[in-house]
């Protein structure tokens, strides 16, 4: 077991040997990243312009300003209303006093029975007549009281609204200068109701998903083929395997150690790619595909299967030829050409693009895909072992 782990560690260490491959991979990733950045900046520019409207309408400052303006308008209305109430109440009181005075004057000038002019006109009794001045006074007092209350309510409302206006003005000042609002324009959430902004955000998410898809499908596949196709073949070709296998290490341990080491490198690559994509995506507030949660694992499984095919081929033909052949077997467009595909793995359910842009996978789908990959890898490694045990290592 320790020999197997040592060889796995040696394989991880040997990644340095693939300097050219790593350089090409980094070049591809760098290009993808640069293209993504360009696309991102373009999207940001378009979005920025599109979001200018939101800056005016939807920033805290504009919202506050809108509220302040509304409140000021309300205040103005209230004050106007209060003035009117005041004016009206004054008029009512004056009218009530005039009416009382006129009535009393009429009563003094014209003695005799008084007719009440309601629905049922009749002659008032002397007691009722004596009560009229008091009732008129009561009525006048009542009118004055209502006027005062109406005026008080209007002015209280006006005062309250004036206080609110002052508070809003203070909040507006506390928000700082206009420039600070620009940032907010960039941090607008994807849930923004603006359709154009939402569409641009979705585009941004697609760009990141595309970057991840590229890095995982293309870069991961190249890395897998580089590791697995040359893992054993190059050791046999260069003769380094002879020093290793002159130690008490079985061929099975050697092959499994090589596979384990290569698998660890691939797993690290998947994790790294997913981390990079998620981090950049999050930094740019792109709506990340939920598939990012499980795609790294399935991408790893897919690349492992591809590597297994490459490993098997490399035990029969040169590593470069093995790599090209393995690559062809992974391309669905070549599936019709040869019956060999009947026994080679299918990568259909592992395609990063369909995972990222297609429908979501359920937990059972994920489990089935993982089991399928494990099954394929075990078969490939078993066949590779059978072949490797019979190989001439010279």
């Amino acid at each position: 077991m320790s020999a197997l782990l040592l060889i796995a560690g040696d394989t991880v260490r040997s990644v340095r040997r693939h300097r050219t491959l790593l350089a090409v991979l980094l070049l591809f990733l760098g290009t993808a990243g640069a293209l993504t950045a360009v696309a991102r900046d373009e999207a940001r520019g378009i979005q920025h312009r599109a979001l200018q409207r939101h800056v005016r309408e939807d920033t805290p400052r504009t919202v506050l300003a809108r509220r302040l303006a509304a409140k000021q308008a309300e205040l103005r209305q209230t004050v106007e209303q209060a003035r009117k109430v005041r004016s009206t109440s004054r008029g009512d009181r004056r009218k009530a006093r005039d009416f009382r005075e006129r009535m009393l004057a009429d009563m003094t000038r014209t003695p005799g029975p008084i007719l009440y002019g309601g629905k049922d006109p009749r002659v008032l009794s002397p007691d009722e007549v004596r009560a009229i001045p008091r009732e008129l006074q009561e009525m006048e007092r009542s009118v004055a009281e209502h006027s005062r209350r109406a005026r008080d309510i209007s002015f209280q409302t006006a005062r309250r609204e004036a206080t609110e206006v002052q508070t809003l003005e203070a909040e507006l000042v506390a928000l700082g200068p206009e420039d600070a609002q620009e940032d907010h324009a960039e941090h607008i959430t994807p849930e923004d109701p603006d359709a154009e902004a939402a569409r641009l955000m979705a585009q941004r998410g697609t760009i990141y998903a595309g970057f991840f898809n590229f890095a995982m499908s293309f870069g991961g596949a190249i890395l897998a083929l580089g590791l697995f196709c040359t893992g054993i073949a190059s050791e046999v070709g260069s003769g380094t395997i002879r020093a290793t296998l002159s130690k008490p290490v079985s061929r099975t341990q050697f092959l499994l150690g090589k596979c384990l080491g290569a698998a660890l490198v691939l797993l690290a690559y998947s994790g790294l790619t997913a981390t990079v994509a998620t981090t950049f995506g999050t930094m740019q507030h792109a709506p990340l595909s939920p598939a990012l949660a499980y795609e790294p694992w399935l991408g790893f499984c897919s690349n492992l299967m591809l590597g297994g095919v490459g490993l098997l081929f490399s035990l029969f033909v040169r590593p470069a030829v093995a790599g090209v052949l393995a690559w062809f077997t992974s391309a669905s467009c070549f599936r019709w050409f040869t019956p060999l595909y009947a026994i080679l793995p299918s990568y259909d359910s592992f395609q990063a693009s369909s995972l990222l842009f297609g429908q979501r996978l359920s937990a059972s789908d994920l489990l089935l895909s993982s089991l399928y990959a494990a099954d394929v890898i075990v078969i490939l490694v078993a066949v590779a072992l059978y072949r490797f045990e019979r190989m001439e290592l010279v």
Binding site: A3, L6, I7, S14, G239, R242, L245, S246, P248, E392
Partner: protein
């Protein structure tokens, strides 16, 4: 129990002629055994079969009584390939530690042992450098160091000194002699016959995949060449002796008749008897390993 034993070991690569034909070898524990032969004789193929790098077409091989296909047996073997290929992304010391790990050396003694072999082969100063920066000679020494790491009971060395300068060659020879002195078994293939002559107890000469001769150096060379000392020779006798294949050396006091081949001696003795010349003294002349080797590979017989 022999350290190395092969029985009718044969190997054919594809449809070409057999690289090894019915090889029977037996290397005893504690002896130094040399494998000789011209290029393509099957020396490296034999070694590769012993290390299970290639599988024989027929026959079998065993090391310390166990089949060579058993990986555990390699814990007792130290192997130095002909052209040392090492992982050049390691530093020298780290590479030896990696091999020490594969050999199962306890981690406590691993570093100590690595330091010892580095010192033994004068590699301490370059132990921290990457193997890719090593010269050919340094790689060869590092290869030898990995073979000696676990102080193995059997050393299998394939052309160990072919790429070394004379100083390093002497160093290798000293180490090998020390191993032999400590009872280690050495199986060595080399073209440098003088080296084998000094080190080996027994040698086997291979030609075209088959064993031509084997035995101790004495068995291979003794009693084959003789020098017959006579008092005087008539001129006609000298002509007859030369015609019979002998060489005649006339000195101041005596004359010597060299019989370089065992088939020459009876013919020379017949000539001397015909001319009535008495043989005063017979001196056995031991031929060198080189003579034996050349005679074996050229004519299939020794001088």
């Amino acid at each position: 129990m022999p350290a190395v034993e092969t029985r009718r070991l044969s190997k054919r690569y594809g449809s070409s002629a057999e690289a090894l034909r019915d090889l029977d070898l037996e290397v005893h524990e504690g002896e130094a055994f040399g494998l000789l032969g011209p290029n393509g004789a099957g020396k490296t193929t034999t070694i590769h079969c012993l290390l299970d790098f290639i599988r024989p077409t027929r026959g079998c091989a065993a090391i310390f009584g166990r089949p060579v296909t058993d990986p555990a047996v390699r814990a007792r073997i130290g192997y130095l390939p002909e052209s040392v290929a090492l992982h050049d992304y390691y530093r020298g010391g780290a590479l030896l530690e990696f091999y020490a790990g594969l050999l199962g050396l306890p981690s406590a003694s691993r570093q100590r042992r690595v330091a010892e072999v580095l010192e033994l082969l004068d590699l301490q100063e370059v132990a921290g450098e990457r193997v890719s920066h090593y010269s050919k000679g340094m790689r060869q020494r590092l290869g030898f160091a990995q073979a000696l790491l676990h102080d193995p009971d059997l050393l299998i060395l394939d052309e160990p000194t072919s790429s070394l300068d004379p100083l390093a060659r002497r160093q290798f020879s000293d180490i090998l002699r020390d191993c032999k002195r400590r009872g280690k078994t050495i199986l060595i293939s080399s073209h440098i016959l003088s080296e084998l002559e000094r080190l080996c107890d027994r040698v086997a000469i291979l030609k075209d995949g088959a064993l031509v001769r084997s035995g101790t150096l004495q068995e291979l060379s003794v009693n084959r060449a003789v020098k017959l000392h006579v008092a005087q020779l008539p001129a006609s006798a000298i002509e007859a002796l030369v015609a019979a294949g002998a060489e005649v050396t006339i000195g101041s006091g005596s004359t010597a008749v060299h019989c370089t081949d065992e088939r020459v001696r009876p013919r020379a003795e017949e000539v001397l008897a015909r001319y009535g010349v008495a043989v005063e003294r017979v001196e056995a002349e031991r031929s060198s390993l080189e003579d034996v080797f050349l005679a074996s590979v050229n004519g299939g017989d020794a001088a």
